[in-house]
């Protein structure tokens, strides 16, 4: 066990991680942010999603200053509804990350499955799947997301819309992103399929499904991991953008993007903290994930590290 841990610690990946202060810092930041988001109900001082706990009079409290009406002090201030910014950001990040992770997982499962299948089956199946991917590429993520949102809006009853919003977001971001995974998985798998261990597996009598999942999949994990990391940052930003455009998370259960949309209208009027803190959180989150993805790509592709 210890030897195992030691081997991981001593691996090239780990070594390059230990050599890169940028990677370590961004890993720390993203871990802290993700843990905070997961633990939001435990560590947040308030529950901003429970409207019955809100006191409107706390609205627009400045950070670290007592509210003129209620005398309460909020570390990062409050927004226009009297919601504690810190709690709102923690909960908002939870939503952003949840949407991001789910969307990436959805896109990854769909894309990798199709990509692997296309690469392994080849021929007509490959041609058709990749044509579909081409068509999908015609529609940039933002457009697909808005369209799906618009269509879903036409279908879902009003009282379900708020609950649906999150899932519609996940679906639309995921659907707009699967091509990335399909292409990368297919590209990597095409290389693997050529390799002789696949023929060896056929020779010993393995069925195609098992060859794809037990043999090829583990070997294409690295590039998929890189794409997944970068996609996570993209998904978080896309979610924020959609929420900003008003087709995302509802204001009663705001994500970081919704918070920025709300904060934006108070930006010119001096209540800078309502925009500043969510925006900074989003930037930190996206930047640290992006930096990790960048590092991962370089570390997994040693040729680049000249």
């Amino acid at each position: 066990m210890i030897g195992h841990l030691h081997r991981i610690w001593d691996s090239d990946l780990c070594w390059s991680f230990r050599q890169s202060p940028v990677a370590m810092v961004s890993a720390c930041i993203s871990t802290v942010l993700i843990v905070c988001a997961i633990l939001a109900p435990l560590i947040a001082p308030y529950n901003p999603f429970d409207p019955s706990t809100l006191n409107l009079m706390n609205g627009f409290s400045r950070p670290m200053e007592p509210n003129p009406f209620t005398g309460e002090i909020f570390l990062l201030g409050t927004d226009d509804q009297g919601r504690d910014m810190l709690s709102t950001i923690l909960y908002g990040m939870r939503i952003s990350l949840f949407v991001g992770f789910m969307a990436v997982i959805f896109a990854m499962v769909l894309g990798v499955l199709l990509g692997l299948f296309a690469a392994y089956a080849g021929g007509r199946a490959d041609a058709i799947i990749m044509r579909i991917a081409d068509v999908q590429l015609t529609f940039p993520a933002i457009l697909v997301a808005i369209l799906i949102f618009g269509i879903a809006k036409g279908f879902t009853p009003v009282h379900l819309r708020d609950q649906m919003a999150i899932w519609v977001l996940i679906l639309s971001i995921g659907l707009s992103d699967w091509v990335q995974f399909a292409r990368v998985a297919r590209g990597a798998a095409l290389v693997e399929v050529q390799k002789e261990y696949v023929e060896a597996a056929i020779l010993i009598g393995r069925k195609p499904g098992i060859i794809i999942f037990r043999h090829i999949l583990p070997n294409v994990v690295s590039p998929i991991l890189v794409i997944a990391t970068i996609s996570l940052a993209l998904a978080i930003i896309l979610e924020a953008t959609l929420s900003f455009l008003g087709v995302g998370a509802p204001p009663t259960e705001p994500s970081l993007g919704t918070l920025i949309r709300i904060g934006q209208s108070f930006f010119f009027s001096g209540e800078w903290w309502i925009l500043f803190f969510p925006a900074t959180t989003l930037l930190m989150l996206a930047l640290s994930v992006n930096l990790l993805g960048d590092w991962l790509r370089d570390a997994l592709n040693p040729k680049l590290g000249e």
């Binding site: 068509v135 015609t138 457009l143 940052a233 455009l245 008003g246 920025i260 930047l287």
Partner: protein
Amino acid sequence: MLSYVFRRAMQSVLVLLTVGLVAFSMFRFVGDPVENLLGQERTDADIERLREQLGLEDPFPIQYWEFLTRAVQGDLGISFRQGRPVVDIFIERLPATLELAFVSAAFAFLFGVLFGIYTSIRRKGFLTNVILTGSLIGVSLPTFLIGILLIYVFAVELGWLPSFGRGDVVQVGRWSTGFLTESGLKALVLPSLTLGLYQMTLIMRLVRSEMSEVLRQDYIRFARARGLSDRTIYFRHAVKNTLIPVITIAGLQLGSIIAFAIITETVFQWPGVGLLFIDSVQFVDIPVMAAYLMMISVMFVAINFIVDMLYLAIDPRLRDGKTSFS
């Protein structure tokens, strides 16, 4: 070579047909057109009559065919919200978006390629680090936030540039252009910067990684072994080989600028099709949404086609049809 062009053209048509199908399905199944066209006091007879009139009783493929025929003739239906032919609305709004997209694309491509080449040649160095850090912050900040910050700095605090709209436009035929007036040009600066920044970052990173890849190729090592100067190696051998894969992806990126303009147009109240689209989503104005979809894919296909033809010009391997990039 001709067969290559033909194959590409066929693929484009296929893509358009598929998108058309999506658009048509939206028409047909999202939001009952009868519901939208008839008022409150409709009778069952009215509904019957209208269904007949609209051809809704025909089999699906026939309806689709007629939809396509009309679309090709420029009839994309009537906006539920504005009650005008969608095509008219688009013609009115399109110049704004196209001018914005054009300027942003030119900006993104020029600086993206420039920075990409620079950072792949100078792998370490102050300016490289600045560019790379800047680009990462660029992709980590949502476009709308960048837009808001730019407005705050350049329009509100400094007052140098307008914060919204197109400024004064000049009507040239049916095309309204902002290129001919000072205020029109000024108004273009912030939105196109906002829109182009993200694309520039992507192109830059792409050029950088492709160029780094090319610089590791044997023929570059061999060129060094032949004693060629760095200039020749970088700019004659490496850049041209880099641009071949970059062009496709950059083409796709630039195609998506039109769609990404939705955000920029919202932030800057730019009266283009993106703003129209986001409004139409709010109002579930299906004909406008469908038409927007069609428009985006036509542009995309057109750009792709142009890119493919550019390939033919650059890559001799393709001209002989020996390899195909699909």
